[in-house]
Symmetry: C6
Subunit: 254 residues, 6 copies
């Protein structure tokens, strides 16, 4: 253990990173913790990508913090078009050099195949480069599941995540990892191990009730801080995810 680490620790203690997502910071007792890794998990269509993008975009707009979005499958143009619907002009932000994106396949098939095969080490080097040269402070990895799909051996998966998490927080970044949970479960993650290597876990629930779907959000874990321990309702609006921190997901009996 070198003293260098101890000093960095002292600097990092208790520094909050506000998400500025309506209602969420109240659940987090002030915001995320700088330099830590957070899991954002939820089923299909629950708004994980939107919430994570808000975290990045609000950092850019409110705090002038450079953001980085790492995707392993999505096309850049699709993402930019989708986010415009929430009035997030990522194209504009990218031009000013305060927003960055790694990984979306662009040209042809062969190029795409190559980018999918890019291994974790290669992706980390790209991230490291952007953090050093552009001062990136907030990172979103979308999604953790693909990262684990790329890891063939089951016993290698946790090692891969742990390695990735540590590498990112050593760079001082505050990171959101997106994880897709299985429909109809209350799981925290897909493999049941992701939540244990993270410093915090934010879960989006989607529960079918008769012909409707009820949505709720909860902070299930947050190392080094107290946090709200209820499931709160949220909505996906034109301005993104909006959390109601003083209401309960289920008002009556379930």
């Amino acid at each position: 253990m070198e003293d260098v680490d101890q000093e960095k620790t002292a600097e990092q203690d208790n520094i909050r990173v506000k998400t500025n997502i309506t209602g969420l910071d109240k659940l987090l007792k002030g915001g995320l913790i700088r330099g830590r890794n957070f899991l954002v998990s939820g089923p299909c269509g629950s708004g994980k990508t939107t919430l994570a993008m808000q975290f990045l975009f609000n950092g850019v707009m409110d705090d002038k913090e450079p953001g980085l979005y790492v995707t392993l499958e999505e096309r850049k143009d699709k993402i930019y078009a989708d986010m415009k619907n929430f009035s997030f002009d990522l194209e504009e932000a990218e031009k000013t050099g305060i927003f960055h994106l790694i990984g979306g396949p662009v040209a042809g098939l062969s190029k795409y195949m190559e980018s999918v095969d890019a291994n974790v080490v290669h992706i980390m080097k790209e991230i490291e480069e952007l953090v050093r040269t552009k001062g990136v402070k907030r990172v979103v990895v979308d999604s953790l599941n693909l990262l684990m799909f790329l890891t063939k051996e089951k016993h290698e998966q946790r090692k891969t995540i742990a390695m990735f998490c540590n590498a990112l927080s050593e760079l001082g970044c505050t990171v959101m990892f997106i994880s897709e949970t299985k429909e109809g479960t209350m799981d925290l993650s897909r493999y049941g191990v992701e939540e244990f290597v993270m410093d915090g876990v934010i879960v989006l629930y989607l529960v079918k009730q008769e012909s409707s779907f009820v949505q709720g959000i909860a902070v299930r874990k947050m190392r080094g801080s107290d946090h709200d321990r209820k499931i709160r309702p949220y909505k996906i609006t034109k301005k993104g995810v909006v959390v109601y921190p003083d209401e309960m997901m289920f008002s009556g009996g379930m």
Copy 2:
């Protein structure tokens, strides 16, 4: 990231592709989004193929958009005969060059076996060819499950789908992928990963109640757009699938 992509994006933004399936476009807040991939999933006998064929046929008849049906198992003659029952004359449409079909086994056994073994890359080349020479705009892939069956290694499956999806939307096509869900579940897909690589998910539910089967349809995800969030009843009529966008699947307690 090349500028070419950014321009294409600008053009594609918000363009809606009407399915013209009674009631469905209301759930989709106007229709599908051009150039995107949609999962149409449901259990056996829920009408997935009929719904997807309506999407293609309505494009041909109402919007003069060339359509392409990709099948990996079915015989062309069976499909054409089945669709005639819904008054879709695909044979006629094919003659005018505005409808196309790839893949159904025709002659003998050996030929069939070959066509089943045809790998994904080969199928994509055929599609690419038809899009370029015939101007195909709407594509149906029936079904995603077989595509995944052909992929031996589990960790290769998601990569295969992601690659296939991206290749198709880079060609500018609006695509419906059909996925068969397991009887008696509320699953969104067979492998639990298909829904995450798609831009939208339309689910057909079939719930046994005493001696009857109750049917419902829901849009569970739609990147870059708001959408209806209830389960609505639908029927399979002589004119195909008909959705009731203002009613609820379960009217009473379940």
Copy 3:
């Protein structure tokens, strides 16, 4: 796609094959469709073999249509003895050349082992021969499960079924594939894939209620045709399966 196929299609459209099983044709809106494949699934002791044999025997007696029973495990003498209890004299029918059976083990152990190992291609050749030389129109394959057991690799199974189904309908035969479902489930098939490659699915349900077993039958899928969508009661009588097409399996609440 060759024109030859298109012509054959024209001929086949909408031709119904009556099962002449009391009550069943009403559920099928007139009968099976010529040249198509149907799954007959159900748990142990639900009468699958009896129902399929009625389909063959009624074809022989009522419509003079040559029938073929393909078995991979059963002894011919056992089957003939069992069917005599339902007054189906298969031995007599076989003598007149209008009924055929492939596959039952006859002589000694070694011979049996050989017949079990007979691969799918070999069986198909035998069927093809009988169809060509004897004009077989109706075929029963008992059972699909063994066929899949013989297929070692999981991803080969669906291919095997698809190949087998297509080969049979190209010969113009109307086929019933028997599938054994797991006790206590409402599954449509054993592997959960068989129903998707078939043109129609007929399910026999057997539900334990206190000290009794309640039986019901439903048509769960029928490509190219409307069909009944309820679960109807049935009985196994001295004359075979009898369906009650106007009653409900569960009369009260369940």
Copy 4:
């Protein structure tokens, strides 16, 4: 298909083999069918071995039919001691040459290990020998599970059972195969395939209700014969299993 088989069939038709187990023959509408294979399944402690032994011993005592018990694990002396409690003197029966036992380990460890490894073909030869030289008519195989354990490859298991069943009924024997089901389930067998290759299935149920265990027996399948279709109570008495064919397992609501 040779004519020899057809003749044998004629002889075997409808010949009933009475179990003479109190109440059971009523459920079987007269008894088992000669030359057929029956599965006797049930959970731990439900009396499977006792019931099967009654079948053999009653054959010896009431009908002078030579019986054979095939065990792959049990010691002969244990079995004989246990059966004496039900007043079955197998030792005496063995001396008169009308009862036989194959397989129990006798001397030392090495000898035992050998006998466990004895493959199916070897066991069948021993059985064949006893049937030919001693005129054995009734056989019990205890248990089918071990037979399947000895079969390494999953897809080989059904083949093994099918082969074994056919070999035995070709010898004209009426056979009971014992199968152990999993505690707390209503399964018909351990692997879910055994019931499909058998001609009949007799199930022993054991249901926990509060602090007691309720026992019931049902004939769930019987090819070539009608049979009772309810779950009837039974008891294990000093004279073995006693079935109450006119009562119901659950008298009240469950």
Copy 5:
């Protein structure tokens, strides 16, 4: 089959081995049966080891029968210290040569690793030696699970248990095999096969009810003897396990 075995059988018939555990012998209708194998299964913390040790210690104290405890993981000093809490002075008993222990790791790590790797054959030789030279009559194997863990191939596991069971009862020993069941289940064993190769099964149940855990014991199987068929409450007291043979585990509705 040699006559020697038949004679041994005669001697062993019906000889009861009293456990002298309060209330248990009543459930067993007099005690265990000499020379037989019994499974003692239950979840974590249910008192399996305590019950088995009482069986050994009571044999030593009440009947002067030499006992042997076989452990594959535990340290001797821990076991001795734990048992002192129940006033079982195993150290004292060992000194008088009437109690023996095989297997606890003693010195260093390397030595331990060796003892874990010790194969089943080796352990059996040690037991055989002690039975012959010390006249051991009662044996406890703690636990069966580790034995099965040491067996790599799944289809070898049952063979291993069967072999071990037979070897021990051929030595004339009455044996308790301890098996750990999974929390929250009503399983009889961990692998679902152990109960079938045993002569008797004693189960300890632990059911969570609101904020408490309810305990019950039942004899679920006992070859060659009648036995109690209810679940009876028990407690772990300063004198070990105490069974209440006339009460019911659940007094009210559950």
Copy 6:
């Protein structure tokens, strides 16, 4: 068995190690037992690490017992920062040589990867060294799950844990092993085997009730001692975990 061990046993008997965690020692009837291994299991966010750290820190502060924290994934600086929130100044304790930490990754990626790959034997040597040179008495291993992830072969896992446990208690240490259970279950551990090789098990439960999460703690096993057998409520406060030993987790019906 050497006499040395017997003597060590005598010394160790009944020596209690107070956790000094409010309320917990009452459940433990005085505290943990010196030289034994305890499992502390619970789902994500239940406070396992906090509870274990209290055990170490209270040992340091109240009893001047040197403590050791073994982590396989976490960064030292993160752990120290998190614990400061509970007023545990581990940095200060480390400087005085009474607190030690093994394993957190420090410098760069390559170094980290190395430390993750460090095998169990290597870790044990480090621990042994610290126990001998620094007199460490209390050890926390966080977490057992990673240890098992590093063990490729399933049948090696239990052996690894057993070996690790024994090695530690031979050194005289009192150890807490942290195990992460799956969300939404009442499991005692992740693999279902960890609890059986431990001397005691402390479980943290987290049950979702409508929009809230209810927390409870229970001692489920404690070899060689009586213990509380209810589930008691607990809270995570500014001073760490606080147990309410006289209340019930669920006050009403559940």
